[in-house]
Amino acid sequence: MQLCWLKTDDGRLPSYNSRIKRTTKKRPARTGAPASLPGIAQKTDVRLGRIVRLLMDNATVVASGTKIAEEIGTSRSEVWRLVQQLRSLGVEIVGHPATGYRLQSAPDLLLPEILAPFVKGTIFGKNIHHYYKIGSTSAAAMEAAAAGAPEGTVFLAEQQTAGRGRGAHSWHSPQSTGIYCSVVLRPALPPSEALVLSLAAGLAVHAAVQEIDSRVQPDLKWPNDPLLDGKKFCGLLTEMNAEATRVRYIVLGIGLNVNQTSFPAELQPLATSLRLATGTEWSRMELCASLLKSLDREYRSLVESAGAHDSILRRFQERSSWIRGRQVRIEENGGGFDGVTEGLDPRGFLQVRTAQGLRTVLSGTVTAR
């Protein structure tokens, strides 16, 4: 079993291309979701974000229901309904239609209206889609990318019901405790040169965590598992659609355990969260913004600068304790072997010295031995 991955309870194997599960309670499509994004489940009503933004901007005063209704172009009773909905999502709003509303504390929801200003100037600032509940952000992003979604499109969810991992693994995605994020990239690179993005994504997570708290020193297990205390706190899965010489699109999926205080028993030896590892609560909004910014830096540099490939390999080796002299077991499709790690090859593949000689790991899972 791989770190932190979990098979679905019903024994059904989540596939790389499983379509998004439709939930029975689908909100009417009044959010202006493009018709080109099929299979969307519980897309966030954009007015919820506007209300929160409005209350945040008027944090010290009580905003009347009438004022809010005018600002977002709806009725007072609809504002009441939306406020109730926000409360059910954990946003602390005091007041009622007669008195007006005031935000008690800023909510840590990854609402596009609040996130967008933080990631302005990155490729991720323009198309942020947010869901309260979705099957998988990566499945949604793959569908959207196939339908032509532009580079930098972001899919965020408060909760995933079918979070995906590598192969037959799923990602444990409870509500509003982690960051479940998938982004669409369209690098003007041949597929073989885009592989290193997998390592770069791990570096981006590392940088984002350190930007928030430089005392936290994550390890990176090849190819891109960010670890704290030897346990995985983030899972990255990259899916690519390419022609022989050209990448059509890449979807990078990120599952980041932020404020989980416990995990299902079977995951406890393997998984941790930033909160469990550091003892403090983290702002998902702050971390998500930091993550998208560091991802933007890594990605732009890879696409635009010739030396980025080597820089990624060098920095990965610096930040990972797994690349040299580590006794490991490599689990590959159906088999495995033991050895000692001996650096990365020029393409970024892990080299392992075995009794039979030096072997190059293309896609296996690495575990400590």
């Binding site: 194997l13 989540p14 596939s15 790389y16 291309n17 499983s18 590598r166 192969g167 037959a168 003007a188 690179l189 041949p190 597929p191 073989s192 040169e193 885009a194 592989l195 290193v196 993005l197 997998s198 390592l199 090849w222 190819p223 891109n224 990255l236 899965l237 990259t238 899916e239 690519m240 659609n241 390419a242 022609e243 022989a244 010489t245 050209r246 890449i250 635009e304 590959e332 499709n333 159906g334 088999g335 090859d345 020029p346 393409r347 970024g348 593949f349 000689g357 030096l358 072997r359 190059t360 790991v361 293309l362 896609s363």
Partner: protein, 165 residues
């Protein structure tokens, strides 16, 4: 004009909803006309942006086939698509070949299947990057040339397809 500037220019034109744009500066001439989609022509295009890359073939990988099971057909990577008129689908990356979306599920395609352009044939994984390989022709899958779980070289032939007449 580099790729980034060109991209910004296109984004600007889209943002301002400008349908046609022409710029001449030295020996660089850019003309952009937008319909439903942006069409770009440039007299001196940035090769990195427009041209297909001639990626160097990947260095040989020293991994032996993960599981040489008895049922596994021998790899014919050195042998080109000998049979007349067959089209070979190749891997654009080095990686591990997967015939199915996840272990235990049925394969995406099997010999005898009729596939369309853009239909998913297999996945090649490298460093936890899952590369979906689609068919670039419509026709019948004649042969799968590699085994599930096998390491694949850059450009290696994966499937032979008889294009629809």
């Amino acid at each position: 004009m580099n790729q980034k500037e060109l991209k910004e220019l296109i984004e600007f034109l889209i943002e301002k909803d400008i349908a046609e744009f022409e710029l001449e500066r030295g020996d660089v001439k850019v003309r952009i006309k937008r319909g439903g989609e942006a069409h770009v022509s440039a007299s001196e295009p940035d090769a990195r942006f427009f041209a297909a890359h001639s990626a160097p073939p990947a260095a040989p990988v020293s991994v032996p086939a993960a599981k040489p099971a008895a049922s596994t057909p021998p790899t014919k990577e050195a042998e080109p698509a000998v049979e007349e008129g067959l089209h070979a689908v190749r891997s654009p990356i080095v990686g591990t070949f997967y015939e199915a979306p996840s272990p235990g599920s049925p394969p995406f395609v099997k010999p005898g299947d009729v596939v369309e352009v853009g239909q998913l044939l297999c996945i090649v994984e490298a460093m936890k990057l899952m590369n979906e390989i689609e068919s670039d022709v419509a026709g019948e899958v004649v042969k799968r040339l590699v085994a599930n779980g096998q390491p694949i070289e850059y450009g290696q032939e994966l499937f032979l397809i008889r294009p629809r007449a």
